[in-house]
């Protein structure tokens, strides 16, 4: 695993085929590349939009599932189903819904609006976000449920005895106890956010709507064009960014202990 990455780091300092050392020129070319800037911007925007919402939503679902005494397992299964659906089926679903002649266009037209190719419009980004939330909320919910299960009930009992209400219980017991789980879920969600490329690629191809153009699209196209030197340089930059983010999250949430 480390050997291929090491090779990528090595290639980022050399030309693609001739193996000539070029120093930081590849990094310079990547940072000045408009397509890279657009893709980075979109990817960051996607992460910034999705991760907090996903964490909040999945935590809320986990708390609700725990509160439901009857049929809790049934609801848990229902929320988990989206992640089990194959990508090809999801793509089919997208096409049926969001195509110009799809269900959504039909509903809009029925209410007096005009049809649109939603995946080629400004709504494409929102569709991507919703799809990501729909697919991953159940998975993160299960992780949070595991985390919630690890909190000792005696803490809650003691707090209730002291007169703590629901919000106080959540704020002072649940949330701090969940910080390590929150870190794990955040990291996994971050990594899963890159997988949304699969649906976007299968529906919209190599060059989707501008708002959906992510780093993976760019890397894919660079490989097709044999721009390996730029690809490796960009991959190193992305890896460093993710590493920095994970370390930051670990510092904030990973080592916190319930006081």
């Amino acid at each position: 695993m480390l050997v291929p990455f090491g090779d990528a780091v090595r290639r980022s300092f050399f030309t693609a085929m001739s193996g000539e050392f070029v120093g930081l020129k590849n990094y310079e070319a990547v940072l000045q590349n408009e397509a890279f800037r657009l893709a980075s911007q979109n990817t960051l925007r996607f992460i910034a939009a999705c991760i907090p919402v996903l964490l909040a939503l999945s935590l809320l679902l986990a708390l609700m599932i725990r509160a439901v005494r009857r049929r809790g397992e049934l609801y848990k299964t229902a929320f988990l189903l989206p992640i089990a659906i194959p990508v090809a089926s999801v793509v089919l679903l997208w096409t049926v819904f969001f195509h110009e002649k799809g269900l959504l266009s039909g509903m809009v037209e029925a209410f007096g609006g005009t049809r649109a190719d939603w995946m080629n419009s400004d709504a494409a980004f929102s569709i991507l976000v919703l799809s990501y939330l729909w697919k991953n909320a159940g998975y993160d919910m299960v992780l949070f449920l595991a985390g919630l299960g690890g909190i000792s009930p005696s803490l809650y009992e003691a707090a209730r005895v002291d007169g703590a209400g629901a919000w106080a219980l959540f704020r002072h017991i649940t949330l701090p106890s969940l910080l390590p789980t929150l870190f794990t879920v955040a990291v996994l969600s971050l990594l899963n956010s890159f997988k949304v490329f699969r649906e976007a690629f299968l529906v919209a191809g190599n060059y989707p709507h501008k708002s959906m153009y992510m780093l993976q699209h760019l890397f894919n196209n660079w490989f097709t064009a044999l721009d390996i030197q730029k690809l490796c340089a960009a991959a190193v930059l992305v890896a460093l960014f993710i590493l920095a983010l994970v370390l930051l999250l670990q510092k904030l949430w990973g080592n916190e202990e319930l006081s």
């Binding site: 695993m1 480390l2 050997v3 590349n33 657009l38 709507h209 501008k210 490989f223 064009a225 044999l226």
Partner: protein, 755 residues
Amino acid sequence: MKQILKQAACLLLGAVMLLAGCASAGNLPQSDLGSSAPVAMGRYIEGALEVPNNNLGPCILVQPDGSLLSYNVLYNADGQVVCYTSTDGTKWEMSNVGALENIQQLEGGFADLISVASNGDILYALYRDAQYQPCLAKSSENGPLTKLTLMKGWEMPPRPPAGSEGEALPLSEMPEVLPETVAAMENGNFLIGCFDKIIRYDGEGKELQRYESGGSAFSVHKNTLFMMGKGRNSIETVNLETGETIHSVALPSTTSQNDGINYGSGGAPMDTDEAGALFYADAKGIHRLAPGGSLWETVVDGELSSLGIPSLQVGGLMQDKKGGFFVSMFDNSGVHLMHYTYSADTPSMPSTELSVFALSDNHTIRQAIGEFQRRNPDVRVMFRYGLTEDGAATADDVIRSLNAELLAGKGPDILLLDGLPIGSYIEKGILMDLSGMLDSSKLLKNIVDYYLRDGKLYSMPVRISVPVMLGSAQAVEAAKRLDTLANAAAQSPDGNFLAMNSPSGRIVQFFLTSSPAWFHGDRILDQQLLAEFLMNIKAISDACNDNAILSASAGYMNRADELGLVDEGLENLIKLSKGGLQLHMQMIDGFSQLAIPFSVKNKLENGALAPMGGQSPGVFVPHGIVGINNASKHKDLAVAFVRVLFGLSVQSTDLGDGFPVSVEAIEKNIVEFPEANMGFAIGSSEGMITSGPPAKVDLQAFYQDVLLCATTASTIDKVLLENVKNECDAFFAGEKTAEQTAAAIAERTQAYLTE
């Protein structure tokens, strides 16, 4: 201790995981393993034989002693039949015609020999008389020929008098039997092969039995008939006595060269040996089917011989009585005779392999492979193309796979760069400089100049197509620019300046001849020119009433598919010839496609044919852009192959995939094509146009005015085209201006163009 063991186990697991997935150093090609590995020996070697008078007769027989006998018809006033014999096909001598000497006397006039067959004692000659009526004559023990009574179903309707205009014969009046081949059986009976049946007759011409077949190709072994199945995809074994189908075996390959032509014994690309094994020849090779078997064994590989050359059609197959084969093949230049003999001392596979890669199949490459391997029998050219009909891979998948090979230094020796990122390959030094290897002075200078990069030539197309327009001189002149075309279309009283199309179809129609002008330097889109294009397209579309068909059924007249089809369809060419249109546009892919357009142009009053108009004049579409991999281990062979590709032999062969880029080949075609004895015809609901080959003066003018003026390569950029089409709906609906649409297109394609 336990802790130490646990840590050691973790370290070991980590090391295994780290090293897992490293590429193995195995799987080296056989040729790189040195001479220590045993090499399979034995292969059929191809030899090209001389043909008598540069033309084999329609009837070649292999005598029992293995010598060849060829009956030729001399097309002089007497229609004389001559005979040549040869012991091994290398040298022919004129010989006694024997019983066929009096064939002309049978009818008192000219007899056109179709096929001859003999069982040693009885000779059958199938021929057409002066009235084009097929007849059969028989000679016993070299006695004089006697004509058999006309068999039932053979009667042809009377021929129209000389000088009158002929009409096509309706199907109901076609004779029931159209004989193409004859074969003599041991018992004196004979078999007649037609396109849809095989008929067995007794020695006097009485019909004994019919067998429905898929072609006139057949072979007989004792009481067993081997013939093409009705679906033309199988060989059926039939008992001649009972008519019962004993066996049916699928053809060995899906090549289309399956119909038997009347050359050779039985007139078919199949023959049987004494044991009853069947041999069948097609573009994939010569295949053997054991008696009663269902699996074909390829004994001669088509890829290593001329059998695989696209321009050559297999005519007949005959065994040489010594374990080898004679195969007759034909192309536009005539008939060729090949002899395949087994050499036990030759490695079964050539020791050296040259790899050629393309995204799609290419006829010119296959032609060159055949020629190259004929000259270099110790080299095997492996032609690999990524996109197959039944494959699921996309072009991008194939390119990524290729790039992975190139990165690993294991790419193919020769690349066909159509659809590949040529600019990137040149920039990264993947391609070798060809300028010192090819004599570019023998190639079209305008094409070479386009592909030069800093004085070096890294790639060059083997063929080109050109979009042209045809109409009156006035219409053609107006159509050279989009704005003047729009004006001329608007002034046309009936709106019939151009054939109807949809607005998005118009975009695709003019995309090839306009899009190259939209880019300056390295992939910067000129929005102003793009806006002008859109405005002109809208004006043309409005003038031609394109909007009127927007509500028509989907697909109507929408020839603007994503491959950028310029063609307006043959029915529009016919309409133009009748005055129903003023201008027609189409892609021309070779000299044979010039006949009808020139015929129409010459019939029009003040007709003209010129390169198609647009924002970028002088556009051509390259095909088979060849480059040599700099990392190739067989550069010398690769260069030799490329020289064959651009050599006269391959370039002058018209395979319908574009014009040659060799000046010599073009000049040769200009001289030879008008002298070709062929006619052309197209027909549709609008009528029919017939024509002979184009005149030399027309071809010369085409060469000067079109081919030499082609200076800009253009191919359909699917991403750009799709974005233009998607944004134009609002523009055509009047919701956006041209400038806004151009800006929207530029924004959409920003990522694509700046990568």
